[in-house]
Amino acid sequence: MARRQITIQTCGGAGDGSVATGALIARAAVKLGYSVLVYDTFPAEIRGFGKTISEVRVSVEEVTARADAVDVLIGLNNVFAIEQIKTLAEDAVIIYDSLPGITVKESESVPHFAGNYMSPYGVPLEHTAQRVTGRKLGKNVVAVGFLAKLLGLPKEPFHQVLKELFLRKGEKVLSQNIALFDEGYAYEEVEYRLIELEKAPPPGEERVIISGNDAMTRAAVNASLAVFAGYPITPASKLMENLAKELPRYGGIVVQTEDEIAAIGAVTGAWFAGKRAMTATSGPGLSLMSEIINLGVMTETPLVIVNAMRGGPSTGLPTKVEQADLNIALWGGHGDSPRVVLAPTNIAESYAVLQDAFDVAEKYQTPVIVLTDKFIAMSHTSVPASILEEKRGSTRLEYTGPPEAYRRFAITETGVSPWVVPGTPGISYTTSGLEHDETGAPGYDVPNHVAMTEKRFRKFRAMLGDLPAPVFEGPEDGKNLVVSWGSSFGAVEEGVKRLWNDGYSIRLCKMTTIFPQHEDVMRGAFERAEKVIVVEQNRFGQLAKFLKGYYGISADEVHLPGGEPPSPGEVTEAVKERLLV
C-alpha cells in the first residue's frame, strides 16, 4: 500500500553535500504537490568535522513535526550510514555506496549492520560520479536519481530543480547533473516497489520552501521594520544576515553591535525615536538583554525581541533544540515586570506572530518576546507563498490634545498613554527607568507607584483582542485537555491525532500567546476538562508550572528534554499513560 508520508535521511561528511541533497529532494517533492519538512543536523560548530544529516519528510498532508523514524537512508559515507541504522524504521530502505569490483569485508559492510526487515541497496554512487564528471563530486545526485525511481516519482520535477540550481553555473554543469540523476534513475530495474508514496493532490497555489528565519525576515520587512540591531548567535544569526541584505531595499537599516546589550539598547533608542525596531538572539543573548528589556517595561518603550531557543543552560547545546527559555522570557526582569511572550509553533506561524509582535508592541508600548527555536528557525518547510505577503504598519496611539497638556505617561483606562515622539514641536519630556509620575518626573511615593504599577499591568488586559487566542482541537467535552506550545506542538498534534484514533477523549490546546493569558477562555477550558496535561520540551515543566501558578490548578507535566525535536510517537508514548479513559 502506498504510504501517505515518507522520511528520507541523507548523511555524509563535510563536502558530501548532505544538505544540498535534502534540498533537492524537498524542492522536487513540492513541485509534485507534497508538503515537506527539512530538518538538518550539523556536527560540532566548526566546519569540517563529523557527520551532517539532512532529513526530509515528504507527505501528502501538511507536516510540522519530524517523523517517528526514517524510511529511507541515503548514505553518502558508509561509516556514517552504519551509525545511522539504529535510527531507522524497521523496514527502512538503505541506499549506500557500493564500489563495483571492490569487495568490502562482509563484517564491515552496510548490509551486515542492516536490520532483518531492511532493504539495503548498494549503488555505485562515487563510481558513477567519477565516470560522468571525472570527479567524485555529484554522487549525491546519483543517489537522488535512484531514490526517485525507487519511490516511483517522475524525472521531470527533478530535472527542473536541477535546472533552477545549476543553469547559472553553465550548460555543462547542468547537463552533467542531469546525467548524474539519470544514471541513478536508470541504475537498476526496481521490480518490487518496496516503498511507495501516495500521489499528492495536484499542486494548487504557489508554494515556497522557507525556514523560520526566512519567514521572519519577510515578516519583519513587511511589518515596516526600520532598524534591526543584533549580535550573531546560533540559531538566530541567519535572520540578521538575511535582513542585512534585504532591509536596506525597503528603507531599513541593519547594524551589528558590539554585544547583545548594545543591540537591545539600539532597538530601544530607535523605538523611542518612533521607528519600528527589533533584535534577534538566543538564550545567552537574552540573558544579557534582561536589564534593558526591563527598562522597556518601565519606560513603556516598545521592543521586539526574537529569541531562537537552543539547549541550555549556559552555552549548552548551541545546535540543538529545546523550549526552555520560557521562564526567563516571562520572569527575567527584576521587580514586577510584565511583558508579552509569544511563541509560534511552526515555521508558517512565525510570520504572522512576528507581525503581531510589532503591532502589539507599538500599540501597547511594551516589550514583546517572540520565542522560536532551532527547529523552527533553521528547518525548512513548504508554505503557500501568499501567506508571506501580509503587510503591517504603525499602530501608534496618537495624541490629539493641546501640546501643553501632554503627559507622556498619562493614566488612562486602558493603561495606554498617547505617544508623541521626539521631533514633535511644542512638547518635551524625559522618559525614565525610575518610577515616575504622569509627566515622567521621578516619583517614589506609594500611591504613585501603586497607580503606575496598575497602569502597566492594565495594558495587558487591553491587548488580549490583538493577540492570537488559544486554538482548540477535538471534542469540547474531552476528558483530557492536552496543552502544548512551541515547535514540539507539531509532534503533540500528530500524536494526539493517533490517540483520537485509539479512542481517547482528548481536547487539544495550542498556546501561542503565553503572556498575557486569554484568561476567560482558558479558565473555561480547564473547568470543562477532568484532567490537564501539559507537554513541552524542557525539564522544568516551564509552561505547566506557569499555568498551574497562574490559574491555581493542578496538571500533569510531560517533559521532553534532550536536544532533538520530539517525534509524534514519543508524545503518544508519554501522554498515553497519563490519560483518563
Binding site: 520587512v221 525597503y250 528603507g251 537599516i253 546589550i261 548594545a262 539598547g265 539600539a266 533608542g269 521631533g423
Partner: protein
Amino acid sequence: MSEMKRKEEILVNISQVRKKKIVEKHGRLRPIFCGGCGHFAGLHAVYHMMSELGIENHQLVIVSGIGCSGRFPMFVNCYGFHGVHGRALPVALGVKLANPSLTVLVVGGDGDGLGIGGGHLPHAARSNVDITYILLDNSIYGLTKGQVAPTTPSGDVTSTTPYGNPSRPLDPVKLSLVHGATFVARGFSGRPDELNAIVVEAVKHRGFSLVQVLSPCVTFNRNETYEKYYEMTEPLPGERDLTDWDQAMKFASAGEKIYTGIFYQKPGVKTLDEFCVGVIRKVGEFDDGRITGSLSGKVENGEGKVVE
C-alpha cells in the same frame, strides 16, 4: 585663590550665562545637583549650545544613563531618555539611526561611561555615528556616594578603596583618540566659557564627538577639586593642525599638564548614519534614502526556492 572663591566665581559666571535668555531651555525640573557641583557647568554649556546653534527644543534628544550626571536630560527642555546605567551610547545610536535629523547628545558620568558602559565607547567612536558625548568626569561615583571610579587616580582613598586605589586611571581623551573618534576635546567646569565654546564645536562637528568635562564632585571627592584643576589644567596652544592625530596624542599624554580644549578634529569622515542612508539610497526602492521601513516592500522569492 581659595576654592570657595573659585566656586563663587563659577556661580557668577553661570548666572551671567543664564541671563542670556536661555531660560526657555530649562527643563520642567530644577537641577538636583549639590551646590557647587561641576555638573552645573555642563548643563549650562548645553543651554548655551542650544541657543547659540539655534537648536529648537524638540529637535534635541539627550540620552543618559544613571548617576548624578544621569539626571541631566530632566533639566533641559528637550526630549530625554534616562535609561539604565552605562547604556546611553547604544540607545543614542538607535535614536540617531532611526531619525538622523535629530541632534543627539549623550551625557553621563565617568562610572557610567568608562566603567559599566566602557564597552560601548570604542564602537560608537569607530562607527563615527553623528552624536556628541559629554562625559562629566568627577573621578568618583557621585550618586552612590563616593566609590572609586575608572578615572580615580592611583592611591586615592574612597569608600571602596580604604587602602588606596590599586589601579591606574583611564583617560577618555586618549581612549577616544585610539578608538577613532573624529572629535576629541576636554573642558573644565571651572572655565565655563571655554567649555561652552567646546560644546558648541562638538555639536557642530559631523561625526562622533567626545567632550570630557573635568567636573568636580564637591560632596564626595576631596581630591579632584576645582583647586587642583585650576592648578593642573592649561588650555591647549592655539594654531594647531587639529587633524594631526600624533600631535593630539602627544598633548593628551603629556604627563605634567592636563590640557583643555579641542585635541583633535577630523572633518569629512563618513558617519554611520550617512553610510546607512547611502546604502538605502543605493539599493533601496526609494532613492531619497529615507529611513522608514517600508510598507510597499515586496521580498523577492522564486517559486519553490530555498531562501536560506
